[in-house]
Symmetry: C2
Subunit: 260 residues, 2 copies
């Protein structure tokens, strides 16, 4: 019986999603909680490996329940033992062909930049920039980034052996509020650090450090003579939601033609 | 040269406002920061002694600057050395008659109760109740609390030797949002624990544990046979703002007729 969990966390005190021995991670904490309830070890498979310090409102994972607990009750029993900074939003029964990562249609991340003076009640969730940004320029820059491109200039992925750095971004909105600028991006999949580097590049454009035209040059000239965009801190990043088709795509048919 | 500071903090990691030896407090942290800049000890006098774990967007304090730094620069230099969970919103020059506590006209606190499932990204700032509340009943109960009353049933102050437990509340609004109910109260001054007990009493009314009529009975029958309202956790509480007349009231003339 496969269970899908929608998971929310404040990433400040987690060393990211992916389980690592001796470190407090979201995946490791969830795995231990499921083990406490069922008495058995089981694999927790996540949709996105969020960075150390990054947050999530709608991370998704799945596991094969070792005990016959009704799917919707998993959220309740897990929430009783999970720490304050981690919660299950929803637990549902899914077919055996559902895979949190490979069945996903797209992912939406949001990066928040504070343009106001540092606010201690927000500081865990935003990058503190503290000055106004030219949002129109940022929007023009963002337009160049939408579509299917080689995002090699926006990742450190090359160092970790990933060869295909082409991805598709469907939509980038720059949300302008009185005290912050938020960059919301929906794409099929993201490279390591990509969201934080894209946000860094757009911040450089918005503050006048980088001509807007350089954004498209970064896409076409690969690791050229241009300075790479700065990587913004993880605390401003939040995995907002992961969308699945209804019914979800069966990963056993599609996994072969997908790569994250 | 007297400086007024408007101060914001995430109270989670502070043992309240008031300096205590060996504990991390807001007052102690500010005092140490001023000492680092000026090289001299000085007293920091706050408007409200917020509880351990309670937050502030607009706490106010004053100190007599031992060095000739322009008043508006104090915010900038202090913010450079203050920790992430504490910031100066504004620093201004005030007259020698200004007193953060005794010149204050009124104080506004907000208590947030979450009516949605526990959200790790909000959990530091709300009381997690997790179910709907009858907001109309809460509003009726709140009406009884406005005015000048003996709030002895809403404080533990008696134990600390305070004899006069009469205070004046100008306004109580119950703000109803999709996922939370916030209780915002403006009053001249508050007793110890008063805001958290009033919120507790209104929560009891809103969830159907206490008849609405008992709120006024708590005001008139003092510590009667009625069960006292529950004290809600400090983390849901935020000191929103402190209002001063323009120009501020000179405390040397008015301190004698005021008591917090």
């Amino acid at each position: 019986m496969r269970i899908k969990l929608v998971v929310s966390y404040d990433g400040t005190k987690f060393c990211g999603w992916a389980a690592q021995p001796g470190l407090r991670t979201v995946q490791g904490t969830l795995k231990e909680a499921v083990r406490q309830i069922s008495g058995e070890d089981c694999e927790i498979t996540g949709a996105s490996r969020t960075d150390s310090g990054a947050h999530a409102k709608g991370q998704v994972c799945h596991f094969d329940s070792p005990v016959p607990i009704p799917s919707e009750r998993w959220a309740r029993v897990l929430n009783k033992i999970l720490p304050d900074d981690l919660a299950i939003v929803r637990s549902t029964l899914v077919s055996a062909g559902f895979h949190a990562r490979f069945s996903a249609e797209d992912r939406t991340y949001r990066y928040r930049i504070s343009t106001a003076p540092r606010d201690p009640l927000l500081s865990r969730y935003v990058c503190d920039f503290g000055r106004p940004l030219d949002v129109d320029l940022m929007r023009l820059g963002a337009e160049h980034l939408v579509g299917t491109h080689d995002y090699v200039a926006f990742t450190e992925e090359l160092d970790s052996g990933v060869l295909n750095t082409t991805r598709t971004l469907h939509r980038i909105s720059i949300v302008h509020k009185p005290k912050e600028v938020a960059i919301e991006i929906t794409g099929t999949a993201f490279l390591r650090g990509m969201m934080r580097r894209i946000s860094g590049g757009l911040l450089e454009v918005g503050r006048g450090y980088r001509p807007m035209e350089e954004i498209s040059m970064l896409l076409t000239e690969r690791r050229s003579s241009l300075q790479l965009p700065v990587v913004l801190p993880a605390k401003g990043l939040c995995l907002h939601r992961i969308r699945y088709a209804n019914p979800p795509r069966d990963h056993r048919e599609s996994a072969s033609r997908l790569a994250e």
